[in-house]
């Protein structure tokens, strides 16, 4: 109703994915920014189109798909899972077996992407369905243990199934993100090589401040993955308001009460595991394909925990929060690194923040004040270790102070203005 946003005359208005004009407008704006980003066409933030940043942004987008899946499981259906890395691995290895080249020691069918990519999701989903019955029997901490076990079972399998995973220290090459009709044919669209994305989309000269002769493979990967994130984000958001999503929420809030009310608990949990695993499998396959070569050791517990961190920091149960969380978690190491280096230069150049640098950076073995050391072999924490510590601290801080995560912070900010000039 025009000028009367709260006058709902149909339930559909309240259930809308993007119910308010503000939301729709900001979404369109965000979309435009997202399209300009890889072309280095963002005013002031053009540097984000550089290869280094694009690689990281692409990684964040791929993580986002997996995190969206985990969010459905943890945030919406309330099933704690530490096994997300395992499902991603299932997807990745399905992809490589179906799409990879066969060799003397490894299996590979060399099928095109339109087969191996969906199959990666489906295979992971099938494994998810297989695991789901345990979730019906155990919950909470015990479910966490069961899924934790999956990660170790998985790692044992990948190490020993050389025909699938390749060598334990070398891994094997993954099929590229190329869309071809059948094996051996020339790709119609290749997201893995520089050049035109589509026969008419390059060169880009329709923006006055952008001149691009050809599109980088990073930019092309970006568009492909962004498309998937949007599709799967919408699916996730839509799922939450459907019968399935609402049954998950009921199970999350109290599984016994839900069942008493007629929500089929076993069915709901199975659906949650299946769909969540589908997301994971898909993301795993794309990640491996983009990275190119992954050793079995990578699908470890820390990798799983990273996704739990994303969901918790971002805001469990919300799509927007998960996207925020993904970028936060993926970008943070880079930011920490940049910040540490910046502090180091402050120390050497005696800048205004040199004192802070002196406190944080450990410059020599005798410097007992510092915490972080820049040399890999030096005393104190390395930057990587610092990041791990920071993650731990952040989880604790968020769980105590802001259980709704980054999304909760956003809600607080929004409500502050929403209630204006009142507080409630």
């Amino acid at each position: 109703m025009r000028g009367r946003p709260n006058l709902h005359t149909k339930y559909q208005f309240e259930m809308g994915l993007f119910p308010s004009t503000t939301k729709r407008v900001s979404l369109v704006l965000l979309g435009v920014l997202a399209l300009l980003l890889p072309l280095s066409a963002l005013p002031l933030f053009g540097f984000l189109g550089d290869a280094g940043w694009m690689v990281m942004i692409n990684r964040a987008l791929i993580y986002a798909i997996a995190a969206l899946g985990l969010n459905l499981l943890i945030g919406v259906a309330g099933q704690i899972s530490l096994g997300h890395a395992f499902f991603m691995a299932v997807g990745a290895y399905t992809a490589v077996v179906l799409g990879g080249e066969s060799g003397r020691t490894v299996w590979g069918l060399g099928l095109p992407m339109w087969i191996w990519l969906p199959a990666a999701g489906v295979a992971a989903a099938l494994v998810g369905i297989f695991i789901a019955p345990t979730a019906v029997r155990v919950r909470g901490l015990y479910l966490a243990f069961v899924t934790l076990g999956l990660v170790f079972v998985g790692q044992f399998l990948w190490r020993n199934l050389g025909v699938i995973a390749g060598g334990p220290t070398t891994g094997r090459p993954w099929p590229k993100l190329e869309f071809a009709l059948w094996k051996g044919m020339d790709p119609i669209v290749s997201f893995a090589t520089d050049g035109p994305l589509w026969w008419w989309l390059t060169p880009i000269d329709w923006l006055p401040w952008v001149q691009i002769e050809e599109m980088s493979r990073h930019a092309k990967t970006y568009f492909f993955v962004l498309f998937l994130v949007i599709v799967f984000g919408l699916i996730a958001k839509n799922l939450m308001r459907t019968r399935v999503g609402r049954s998950w929420a009921a199970i999350r809030d109290r599984d016994i009460a839900a069942e008493v009310m007629g929500v089929a608990e076993a069915k709901g949990k199975t659906q949650a595991f299946a769909i969540s695993s589908f997301y994971a499998g898909l993301a795993g396959a794309i990640l491996a394909s983009v990275v190119g070569r992954i050793i079995p050791e990578s699908w470890n517990l820390f990798f799983s925990i990273e996704f739990v961190v994303i969901v918790l920091i971002g805001g469990a149960g919300t799509v927007a929060g998960v996207l925020m969380g993904t970028f936060f978690v993926v970008m943070m190491p880079r930011l920490v690194e940049e910040a540490t280096h910046w502090l180091a230069t402050q120390v050497t150049e005696s800048g205004p923040f040199a004192w802070l640098g002196n406190v944080i950076i450990r410059s020599s073995p005798d410097d007992y004040l510092g915490i972080v050391s820049l040399e890999a072999a030096g005393p104190g924490l390395s930057i990587f270790q610092l990041n791990v510590v920071l993650f731990g601290v952040l989880i604790i801080v968020f769980l105590i102070v802001e259980p709704l995560g980054l999304y909760g912070i956003w809600i607080k900010v929004r409500n502050y203005w929403k209630g204006w000039p009142f507080t409630y």
Partner: protein, 624 residues
Amino acid sequence: MTTTLDRTEVPDLSDAFPTVAWRIRDWAERTPDRVAIREKDFGIWQEMTSSELWDHVLTAAHAMLAFGIEPGQVTSIHSEDRPEWLIFDFASVAIRAICTGLYPTNPMAEVQYLLGDAASILHFAEDQEQVDKVVDAPADAFPTIKKIIYVEPRGIRVMTDSRLMFWDDFMEIGREHREANPGAVERLMADVDPDEVVTLIYTSGTTGPPKGSMLTHRNVEFGVEKVLNSPDRFQGGRGEGVDDEKLTYLPLCHVAERLFSAWSLAYNGPILNFAESIETVQADLREVQPTIFFAVPRIWERIHAGIHIKLQDGTRFKRLISAFGLKLGVYIGRSRVANNGNFTLGSRIAYWIGYPLFFRSLRERIGLRHCRYASSGAAAIAPEVLQFFMGLGIRVYELYGMTENTAVATSNFDGRVKLGTVGEPYDGIGLRIDEETGEIQTKHAANFVGYWNRPEATVDTFTEDGWLKTGDVGVWVDGTHVKIVDRIKDIIITSGGKNISPSEIENSLKASPYIKVVMVIGDGRKYLTAMIGIEYDVVGDWALRRKIPYTTYRDLGEKPEVLKLIQGVVNATNEKFAHIEQIKKFSMIPKELDHEDGELTATQKVKRSAMTEMFGDLVESMYS
């Protein structure tokens, strides 16, 4: 041959007198798919179009015919505001029955009196609460009532009273009758006489039992023409129309809400939004954001108090901004009051500054963002409260009228507002102030035809030359505007022989958010005293902030800190009045006043006689 044809034909109604029912039918024909009514149900504002509304009305009218209701017989409604209220009312009008409404708060004894007095044949009782008031009476208490129609079946299905009938069954009977006798209702509508009584509106009865005022079709027509459709009422002269949104929440049995909602819908076609209940008005207001809003002083006072409490709870920054906004509001309010309600350049600039910061969002929160016309009536309001709302940029006008003249007397018009007055008489009506008694008297086409069953009372209400005695004392202000002093019978004459109007003092006190009811006493006494009832939530909140523990209403009212707070309000008021009009002592009313206990009328006015009877010791203690 022709007679048999006549019995099933729908007559042409284009020449019939346009009653409210006729107009509802007309809307259905002209704009069948336009939304006419919204009602919040299951969290959603369910819509009803004009054609659906007329369809329901026609079916209900046929059901009434099926029960043998004849023109001139009485139907009654005892319900909160809901679409069925209007449907039942319009259906009664269509078959030329007389419909009367009861206040939902009417206790059993009053219901028995009213239904007996009106001799209602068909009674509409909303739910078990209202059904009980009829069913639990002795078997022969209501000899005339044939059927009791209810819409909320909870708790009623188990009752065995044969007069009870569920709304859906009632409508089913209507449908059958409608199929068997098409055109029966329209034939009655065609023969309507504009001087027929259309409704009985019972006065609230501060003294003595309520009396039913008989209003005719012509009264209604004239009332709508003057009160709703006077061209100077609105800014820019844009009158009420189909684009307007209204919130229906005050009791529809009162002449004001009937006029502003029911008859307005029939004549002008705004969308009526039915509030969920009187408790949820503020939330409903926010959702509906009406363009035209009428409220009684009590509601304005509540919104006023609510704003101040909620602003206090703001964060430091919000409090800072709102303090600034309120200051601007005070300036704008003052400036507009000084300029007959108009903006000056200065106040307009102040409003522009304050709008994005404060006024826009505040008006959105209280639900008056889109309000282009607001009015206050049915009781006297403190000028401070109106000035506050004027300061927020809301166009709010006080108007005056009463049941007996279909609310047609005076109104403030756009650009000619005088705060503290009830405005100017409408164009072309007779309004005079009796020189001897100071009583306001009216003479126009909306003067009622008399009290139901009470020819003597009717005679007493009119002067010998046919003017209606309103019972209110008024004075002219600047020769154009009328200021109400008080009810004649409420005027206090002190033992020193001074005439004092208590309501002015009472309203000034009630402008404080802490005070809900006041009764000033002093008739035949040396000095004035007051009995004061606190606003429980507001004072409770105030006490909470000061960490003053309390248990009940009475306990809270008698806390020394609260007494000090009220004393402060009394002192501030006393400064505004002459020495003789100052309140020397006050005492707290030890209970929340209630309609059920007989201290308040249905319209929440204090019954003075009942009060002095009940709290006699309290009064005496202030004079000893």
